[in-house]
Symmetry: C2
Subunit: 365 residues, 2 copies
């Protein structure tokens, strides 16, 4: 069976964890953080040998869609789906899946974040194709799980049956037992020890018609939204589509559908994966020197180790400092202990509080 694979790239995130490089108008997916090009461009390029541009869609708000159009000039404008407002992921995926359903109800829909790092690309594509085949042939929802490398409290977990339910192209898949929300540390440790838990990566696969059926059966509150959306798109009625979008509950697809549906399968990812969740995660991505320093821009490190420096095109000297994150963007400078980079959100909160009557001249957030 020839698969008709379509990809939906979720590009609406407003990630602030890369401040001061990321701002409201330039979230992580639009920044060249992991490689030479933006994470969105790299996400798309990784797919192109498997899926042509005309079968790749993006979903984001109108402002971000303008940026996407600039970053992906070769893409059909009608593939850049616009969210009329922020309503979490379930309404966006109803929109995208309905859009694809119009073309071909049996098309296989792959949902991917726009700001994850995945290597190597060819292994990813092979396993993605295997996942698509499983989703298409078995008529179920499929998800990728990331084998955990530490007891993270920042990801949701997927509990799966210990034994594979089958294999496609050599890749095993397991029946999902449950989706678990971000756990406290002790619980995360138990998950990792158990060996049957993977991180929920936010990568999903379903046939458009299977999605519609599962949604109506397991998440009936979305059924009217689905029907109205499909009807609106069929008539190419943008206003009606937006109205349908706004009637749907603002829930995540995990909560609205994945956790409730039966017969969900998980493929434990074989490829390397990082959600590049904060500055310190780049220490595992960028090349490091023999003292564990990594940098964009030229550095000179004297008795300095484990530092991450972002100061592209300019010179940075480090003397006697360890495990720092230093980010210079021209208008703002961040100097942060490496294990406290999640606190950049506190900086942003503070800046927003101070905005009124501020002496700040620039849009720092």
């Amino acid at each position: 069976m020839k698969l008709d694979i379509r990809v939906v790239v979720m590009a609406g995130g407003s990630g602030t964890r890369f401040w001061p490089l990321s701002r409201g108008s330039r979230p992580k997916q639009f920044l060249p953080i992991a490689g030479e090009r933006s994470m969105l461009e790299e996400t798309v390029e990784r797919l192109l040998p498997l899926v042509p541009a005309r079968k790749i869609f993006t979903v984001a708000d109108a402002a971000k869609t303008r940026t996407i159009r600039r970053l992906l000039p070769g893409f059909p404008a009608r593939n850049l789906l616009v969210e009329p407002e922020g309503r979490n992921t379930a309404p966006s995926l109803v929109l995208a899946t309905a859009r694809i359903h119009l073309d071909n109800p049996e098309a296989v829909v792959v949902v991917l974040p726009s700001d994850h790092l995945i290597r190597p690309a060819d292994l990813f594509r092979r396993q993605l194709e295997a996942g698509c085949r499983a989703a298409a042939e078995r008529g179920v929802l499929v998800t990728f799980g990331i084998p955990p490398t530490f007891p993270s409290t920042g990801y949701g977990y997927i509990k799966a049956a210990a034994k594979p339910a089958g294999r496609v192209n050599g890749f095993p898949y397991h029946e999902v037992r449950s989706f678990e929300e971000k756990p406290p540390l002790e619980r995360a440790r138990r998950f990792v020890r158990a060996g049957t838990y993977t991180w929920n990566s936010g990568m999903f696969i379903w046939r458009a018609d299977v999605f519609a059926g599962k949604l109506k059966r397991h998440s009936p509150e979305y059924a009217p939204g689905w029907d109205r959306m499909l009807a609106a798109l069929r008539k190419d009625d943008r206003r009606a589509a937006n109205a349908a979008f706004k009637t749907m509950p603002a829930k995540s697809i995990d909560y609205a559908l994945m956790e409730k549906a039966s017969g969900v399968l998980v493929l434990p990812a074989r490829f390397g994966w990082s959600d590049v969740g904060a500055w310190s995660s780049l220490l595992d991505v960028w090349p490091r020197d023999e003292r564990g320093n990594t940098a964009r821009g030229e550095i000179l490190a004297l008795d300095a180790s484990g530092n991450l420096i972002y100061n592209p095109g300019r010179f940075t000297a480090l003397i006697g400092v360890d495990n720092l994150i230093v980010v210079e963007t021209g208008d703002a400078l961040l100097v942060c202990r490496r294990d406290q980079d999640q606190r950049v959100k506190d900086v942003l909160a503070n800046l927003k509080r101070r905005k009124k009557g501020s002496r700040l001249h620039f849009p720092l957030f």
Copy 2:
């Protein structure tokens, strides 16, 4: 007796310890490090209530003299004495003292560094005037000693008689027993414990004619240089003056004269003093927040203490970092442990080594 006080501001230093802010072309004395204006301007302004501009001279090489002319536009151009080459301080002070001797052999010459911080200015002027009176009336060389606050190994020391030899305007002066070079730590500790040692501040006072007499008697190798310099200046012959300058041994005035002369007096400074020797010394100069952070430019410090930030006009966020020196100058960024700031010279040495075939686009030193 009415004193004819002249001041010679030594502005030829090439201090590199404030890299990346200081560079070859903008040494410390030309930077607004301690206050709103450059240290040279503040040095001069501190004097003006006591000494008019026409009686203030500077000594520096030709390139630095161009900068001085820009910083001190109201000064007579002929007061900006130019060193034809770098030959340490003794030849420069022969030049300057001879220049003043031409005007008035009994003028009192005050020699001051251009890059020291002194507060409060009025106390300084009162004690300076007292020193001038002692130098003029007793016909001796006078120096200011800084009461040591810790056993520094970075300064020379002046050993003085325990009991004052006299007082002027309430300020005691002591006979100097010896000048001591920068001591190792143990020796420095003994000096501080003894209570009769002060730091050699590089501030000297002498009558022009007394200087000439002491030089000829205690440092005869400079006698021909003095005579040729005086003759050249009398004829306003710049070439002959330069030639005289270049014949003199390249020694410091401490070594050439002060250590050898008899009857030298020291006044223990009552005013606050700092030679602002490196970035960390500014922690005692700039105002600090309640966590001991100090900054040029706006900062937000989250669990951060004891840091010095130079990033004027821009925003710096600190998270969980302590005792750092961070300096951002647009083309270069320094991140340095506070107790290792003397190592910026190693950065400079490294940059100079790399200069050949370098990928660096800018004059970083």
